[in-house]
Symmetry: C2
Subunit: 304 residues, 2 copies
Amino acid sequence: VEAEFIEWLRDRVAASSAVLTGIGDDAAIIRLPGPLAVLTSDMLMDGVDFELESADMRRIGRKALAVNLSDVAAMACRPVAAVISLALPLSRARWYAEEFYAGLLPLAEKYSVAVAGGDTNTWNGPFVVNITLLGTPPQAGPALRSGGQVGDEILVTGEFGGSILGRHFDFEPRVAEAIWLREHEEVHAAIDVSDGLSLDLFRLAAASSCGAEIDLSQIPISAAAHELAEGSESSGSALDHALSDGEDFELVLAVEAESAARLVSSQPLSVPLTRIGRLVAEPGLWQISPGNPRAPLKPRGWEY
Amino acid sequence: VEAEFIEWLRDRVAASSAVLTGIGDDAAIIRLPGPLAVLTSDMLMDGVDFELESADMRRIGRKALAVNLSDVAAMACRPVAAVISLALPLSRARWYAEEFYAGLLPLAEKYSVAVAGGDTNTWNGPFVVNITLLGTPPQAGPALRSGGQVGDEILVTGEFGGSILGRHFDFEPRVAEAIWLREHEEVHAAIDVSDGLSLDLFRLAAASSCGAEIDLSQIPISAAAHELAEGSESSGSALDHALSDGEDFELVLAVEAESAARLVSSQPLSVPLTRIGRLVAEPGLWQISPGNPRAPLKPRGWEY
């Protein structure tokens, strides 16, 4: 499939001023705005991250890039170039590859990501994709998980829970939102919710050597979480789903208190920003609710 | 396996001044010497690139990095940081992962490559590894396949053929050699031999809008190529093996004529440099030998 497919792909990949030499040499040469690079990589496998038999290869192609975009957004960085490796089942290799890229390329174009190279293979095995995304930090520098400070308010974008009903494929990575926030307000730390809101918030707090206090009444719960909770196979309340379901790919941000107040009242983004708690000195995760004493909250989510 | 394994790995990965934030955040932050980055990625799969049942996982770990190092060497660039994704068979995931890294990490240290992150997965499927390597060009800039000029001499490092007998695992990527050559002499173009000497030389010539003329009497033939040719299952002469076997991972260089003469007589590297031909105006691959007219030579090697 390789030589002919590389031609096919090269014809479809938009030229990028950042990529000096892309598909077709031994490595891609990429010009960054400065000497700092961010690099992230995600591997998705048939039977683990999706079921190829029932999933649409275009949605898989979109998601494979989108999860990496979400990681770069979690650093408040700008994506620049991607390298894409595929292991394609022999029987339908070319068709799968074309469908994959038909799903991926519009998202790459939307976020100005150059497809700079990769490695396209066929085998007698299940479909595997690995994407590595190279990005560049904003003026204010990348947002780490570890930058949170006691007293920071915890803000989140969007709503949580029930992504399994479809949003885990069709989510919008919060790239533009993260960069805007980092450049305009005092965002100290950030993480994207890939494994579950309570678990990923716990990780941010731990990396920042803090604890986190969540007001459970303030969690933005998605319609999909309600739908799951009301279904016949319900495994918990809508709030449970919002706190523990994976693949929301929303941002959790630790923001200096005055910045946070300004953001919540002005709502400068096209997606809602909600204050759900704050970072505290005591390690661990804590729940608060009006009229009740503070109590420990177990971080839940997808653990490997 | 993930959380505990990440701890295990973090303890074993050497700190690097180039990696500001490595394993454990959403993305790695890497400081390059300048704004130019090179990026390459290779995926290796059980049953395609090796047979896990008969191969040693440490050799696979070493090779997975070495093939990427060879790609970066083919650009005459310096490797900086790697991100590593694994799909590990569930039954022996942790053991496989530790053996893999036991093979990889010494090579990473030798070439000052920081393991900056990745994605470690388990599944009910065959072993897959993808490594993406980030590098940085030398002062003279990266060496492309396309920089060759009519009249350039074609030099090669080392010997060719028969890598299947062991060298496809244990080869030394020509990183230091490529950088030294690019910085000290007029190296116009380079490629590493992954698919076969005649095929990869043909690719370099074609990318440079030239043809190439090879003196078949000058090809450095490895002992392994002779061994294969003399074996009972021989599929060609030792020269055939040298011209068409894949995975030699030696360099093919298009070098300005005076530089080439100087290099061949001074032999400045620890590996031999041999002149095997030159770039010519007529497209295609040509063989010459003393007393015979020039004749076309079919590029042979591993085509996908």
